[in-house]
């Protein structure tokens, strides 16, 4: 399946600086946390993820055509 | 020889370099005693970022009448016992980074503390043509 992965802020270092990746995956189903493992993004550095702009948890199943946005943890304000 | 180089486009104006230099060489956190001058301020015509660093031009070595500043293995060395506080090195230093102290002067000794602290690699040690 084809998906789009968006890594925000400092997290793009896990994809060598690329913020947006168009990915072709062998699987037809996997979870957000499995996808993050593939890029070695520590979940402790993630505040929350969005699938197609909706806030979802890390166990969310990804389908073909989805856009997954990964937001970094933020402190202060 | 390697000397300091400043990359203005990377500088964030945090002054950590000044603190690292004065801590290492003067034993206190005092930006005005640092042997470099990094400026990042908003002037009327916009943000001014400027760096004055020792590029090992050796002018101080040449002008010192007492040979109190010498270059050895690519590093400057200040010999306080020879210094007469004449101030010629301070006045003639092209980047104006020699600190005039009540006794003696402070010259950059290429200790690299500033570059080690710089969070954005705006200060680096690079080969200079000598």
């Amino acid at each position: 399946m084809e998906i789009t992965l968006l890594l925000k802020g400092p997290l793009k270092k896990y994809t060598d600086g690329a913020e947006l990746l168009e990915l072709e995956l062998d699987e037809n189903e996997l979870t957000v946390s499995e996808l993050l493992q593939r890029f070695k993004v520590p979940t402790s550095s993630v505040s929350f993820v969005q699938v197609n702009n909706a806030k979802k948890d890390l166990n969310q199943l990804i389908k073909g055509g989805d856009t997954i946005t990964v937001n970094p943890r933020v402190a202060g304000g | 020889m390697k000397a300091l180089a400043f990359h203005a486009e990377k500088c964030i104006g945090c002054k950590l370099c000044h603190l690292a230099c004065s801590a290492q060489n003067e034993g206190e956190f005092n930006p005005r005693l640092a042997r470099l001058k990094i400026t990042s301020i908003h002037k009327r015509d916009g943000l001014l970022v400027r760096g004055q660093t020792c590029d090992l031009c050796l002018t101080c070595v040449e002008v010192c009448p007492e040979d109190a500043i010498v270059e050895k293995n690519g590093r400057l060395n200040f010999l306080p016992e020879l210094c007469t506080d004449c101030g010629i090195c301070v006045d003639t230093c092209p980047p104006q980074v020699i600190v005039d102290k009540p006794e003696g002067v402070g010259v950059c000794v290429q200790c690299r503390s500033c570059a080690n602290w710089c969070p954005t690699a705006a200060l680096t040690f690079e080969e200079v043509n000598k």
Binding site: K8, G9, P10, L11, K12, P42, S45, S47, F48, Q50, N53, A54, K55, D57, T69, N71, P72, R73, V74, A75, G76, G77 | E9, I12, G13, C14, K15, L16, L19, A20, S22, A23, Q24, E26, G27, E28, F29, N30, P31, R32, L33, S40, I41, H42, K43, R44, G46, L47, V49, S113, N116, W117, P119, T120
Partner: protein
Amino acid sequence: MAYIDKVLRINLTNGRTTSEPLNKEWAKDYLGGKGLSIKYLYEELKPGIDPLSADNKLILMTGPLTGTIVPNSGKLAIAAKSPATGTILDCSIGGHFAPELKFAGYDAVIIEGKATEPIYLFIEDSNVELRNAADLWGKGAHETEHLLYERLGDVITLAIGQAGENLLPMACISSELYRQAGRGGIGAVMGSKNLKAISVRGNGGVKIPDIRKFSATLNKIKREDTMTDDNMWAYSDGTPMIVDLSQSTGILPTRNFQEGTFDEYKNINSEAVKSVLKAKKACFACPLACSNYVKMGKTEIEGPEYETLALCGSNCGIGDMEALIEFNRLCDDHCLDTISAGNTVAFAMELTEKGIHDFGIRFGDVENYLQMPTLIATRQGVGADLALGVKKMAEKFGGRDFAMEVKGLEIPGYEPRGSWAMGLAYGTADRGACHLRAWPASVEAFGKIDPFTSEGKAELVIGMQDINSVKFSAIWCDFWAISTEQMAEILTLLLERDITAAELSTIGERINNLARLFNEREGFDRKDDYLPTRVHNEKLTTGFTAGKSLPRENYEKMLSEYYQLRGWDENGKITAEKKKALNL
């Protein structure tokens, strides 16, 4: 040493300046910054004074970290009794003023009384001068700073603009053009004393034992704990990154908090700011450089920060970055707090659209919107009414249910209906609606904690309030998500005595209790800890928060639990046991 042990006291009424030792007992109990300035005010201010009278005092307070190489330690606390709320007020301002003051040889400056004519202060080491400011009065903060720099040479300046001179409850203090002690009318306190600016140059330094070893340890901490994923968002994006987070979680204040999402959010988000970015800027000793120096058209600023993008952008229905940047610049120059100014303009827009009172300005009306900062700061035209701030405007014109303020301080950029703990944080913050005393949105709306429940929220908010009070007293900027243990480790090295995380937690608790005690003495209690009724009675209708409100009973539950965990009575008053336990 980490403390200089010297406080400069300046009486503007008789022009006398004296110096005195820092109260070391208090410094042990309250560290510095926020905590110590509140302690001085609590001891020195008579209850019930008019915040704009000569009886109020303005305190500039550094902390033990100030002037050292410790990352993110560049901030200054400025405190007084607030003209906006009547509560205690401490603000935090970045830039380079705090270390410069310490290099001049002072831990703190206490400014008392009132000058008979406009003056500014020039402090260079032991030389302190009160100088005539007649030619600066009436000028914006930017021109004031430029003139003082040209006149005095290499100095760092705190200045007020027209808003401070005209005693607005939303007047801030500015430094290095784009940094502000923003909230609660701290700029009006300066204005009320006829004090236009304070310029400082310090030629001394801060000495600590074993400074090379200390620096080497801190460099390692900087690399391994400061410049990490948790904090580098400040460098990669800065606060504008929060726009997308708030939009996607439905807490981006829109059209005076009528909605939690904004259709034009892409015009005001981090990508939009980055498209006009010229350089990153940092405060003293900060490797994170959250500030974005931008240029668009003829306007350049450091900013706009998230709070400005939210309150002056989506909350005013403005999705035009160039207009926002210009509005931001005008606010900075006149010294208007953008959180309060954005809220006030949005409130006027809703009052106009609802037909309650016609201020001639509607949501998204860029042309009139850009007139507002100057009109408000100079109290001209409709600006005379908007200069009152949201609370007093509601008293005069109506719209109480949607006057978005707590204790008279306008609400920051996180919709409490989509982050219930944020609601509690606004209700219980010492200076009125504030997101800096605790920012639970970061772990609730933007994290894994359910935002739509009252469970566990009191404990969450208390923990954040206490740790932040320690940070703002040491002083660390809150953009370093530093643990209490790490703070204890660094302070132990610096102060040469064993400081534990538990001791710091107690200090944080003590500071919040003392702030509460100050407010209690001014007549504040439970009745003042409430949110505007819009939050309870109106449901949001779009995005992640569609159908959500923060029901009153849930809020009451959080508030009661908060008092209980704090050791306060049901009316929010500190019990005798708690006072004793905290040595208050």
